[in-house]
Symmetry: D2
Subunit: 223 residues, 4 copies
């Protein structure tokens, strides 16, 4: 018996997505991380990287096509969260699109749903607390987060969770800070080196592949 | 034809709840606001105020009993969000309890649901964008928020939304900042005067009673 | 024997200055506080209020003229610090002007001195720690600060300290937050009610008149 | 004619100091940077690194001894500023010691002077605006700062400036953020990689050696 992701004797796949630059930035750290890790082997799995457009109309279907094409054992989507200080392990994808700025095609939907009739939210199926402990032990700044916003990142996270719902395939989303060269133009804003982000994402993938049941430690937020 | 909340010729009711103090504080601004507004008339409705316990085991059933007893036309729950700078109009209640600190009975549940089998999240049915515009025009600091946390505030918000789901009765949650006397012991932390909070909550109630359809302006968060 | 400020049998004067609006704001909380307190009696002293222009060329000479005209027993200058959360008791005035934005006359000096040949800095002669304790006890958010910036506020503070140097007359500067109606247009930014600011400034004046020697408690900043 | 720092035909020296760990931390990024750069050649100058104790009684005399021993052409002192997001180019050293926490010997002086009878403040003699532009161009997060606090960092900065006053030798202070492994235990706090900090400090030294007159661009702070 083989699970789908190992058919044909190939190594199972981890699908890792990032985004193209947006909001006037020259690069997007999530895409840079994907470029570094694409093709790498983690715990017997091959990472397949892909860059998604920052486009409400195109990003979810592109994610869908990637999942269909690669039949991954795990899907991790990354996105940029300028101004945050560490890797943000997103726990909740909400069925809401509300665009404070336009996407890269000029679309700016207001109070729309990601999936008509879908549940209000999906929760990540990654073991976020185990990942948090692991990254902290590695010295990578990290925190869990209860909101991935209402822009394209949240849309892709929700669409992915909707597709994977009911399947055994785990999926989740990590927001990453600005790179130093981006933060330099936003005086006083936090950043992380690409090396530290790559180390954190690699460890998060390894942890998600290894840990069946998340750590039972308190978390969340008071408000 | 009368709607339930006006039966017996009485004025329809707005149920307004706050919380008792927690986390070592001597008071809770949400409870203080309720004390001021209890019994007041807003747009032909009578405000019925109630103080909820900061208790995972008792708070939702207390809210249920209040809704059953008063048959309100509108329910607005308030809670304290120490460190925030203005009134936070919460848009999303999630089906997650994860307690970073113990409640007032010493309970500290981890990664539990609010309602077993309930949807991942409910959205507020208040016209948050109209309220935001209204309060801003009044000079009351305000912002919409995509996360009410995972403590008792979020639990009560979710439980309320779950109960009201499918009914025409609107319900929502507003987080409020510390009072000046609380912020004074947290040097450098923001606060609001009780008067400004009361003015903001009163205006939010009036707006929720008057505005049928929310304003179609962009909002949300990029991440 | 009468000290100068009581000559002619008049009550001694506390000179209290604020600023006119700047940076596109419609009002300046420091000026509003002065309007409320002007003429009030505090501990046997009469408050004389004055509004200074936000002008590098005019503000210091205006302060000089006010001190010469009123021969005050105490001088307290106020200024707006948008984004701060409480009253900021400034401890240090530096001999530097570096204008990130233009003043109200369009001037934007770079790396100039306030007083040619003056010392690098003057320290406040107000008992800031005693004031901090007093305001905290009153429930007014307050913190001491080691930098008043390098704009007109710092210039006036330095010019005042330079003039009072060697005299027994105490002088100092307090930065105040935005008013609620200002913060409302800067979503998520902190503010204080005018009433709380007035109460805090009144108490600071009373404390400065009553306390000879500042409280010997640790303060300052690690960095 | 040779200037003192090139006597005996040796390369002129840049004295670079950092601090030992304090406040319960296992390491201090300023010391780690010094370890990496010690002995390196920058623009024909040899970097001499030294680690100072976090001690009010010992640090200034140690700095004095280092300057006497090495007769440097430039002195750059580094210190840790946990919670800041980039390199902080300190512009002002004040004649004030006020210790919010104890130093590594348990001393906690209150409202003392660094040098009795010294001026209120010294300004850095580094070309901070040129350095800021240079580091930004390199993609290193950086900002100028008007306060170095009132702890041992400010004391050493003031003592150094006092010693160098009137001499042609330039001296200054840069505060650096936490390392990723430190920030990981302070959830959500910013950090920088050691590599980025080293690159920034190296470039700051090169810039201070090359730039005679600072860039005339606006800076400073409104408050």
């Amino acid at each position: 018996m083989t699970d789908a992701s190992t058919r044909n004797g190939a190594r199972p796949v981890v699908l890792l997505t990032g985004f193209e630059p947006f909001a006037g930035e020259a690069l997007n750290p999530s895409g840079e991380i994907v470029r570094v890790l694409d093709g790498e082997d983690v715990a017997g799995h091959r990472i397949v990287g892909a860059i998604l457009p920052v486009s409400f109309s195109a990003a979810p279907s592109r994610m869908d096509a990637l999942v269909a094409a690669h039949d991954p054992a795990l899907v991790l989507a990354l996105g940029q969260a300028g101004g945050r200080s560490g890797l943000s392990l997103e726990r909740v994808a909400i069925n809401l699109i509300d665009a404070r700025i336009a996407d890269n095609e000029g679309a700016r939907p207001i109070d729309a749903t990601v999936v008509t009739g879908g549940p209000g939210a999906y929760f990540t199926t990654l073991p976020v607390k185990a990942i948090e402990l692991r990254l902290r032990a590695l010295g990578v700044p990290v925190a869990a987060s209860l909101s991935a916003g209402s822009f394209v990142c949240n849309q892709v996270f929700y669409a992915l969770a909707h597709r994977l719902a009911g399947s055994p395939v785990r999926g989740g989303f990590i927001h990453v800070p600005w790179l130093p060269e981006q933060a330099a133009v936003h005086a006083g804003e936090p950043c992380m080196s690409l090396e530290a982000m790559v180390a954190g994402v690699r460890a998060a993938i390894a942890c998600a592949l290894a840990v069946e049941r998340d750590a039972a430690i308190p978390g969340g937020a008071i408000h």
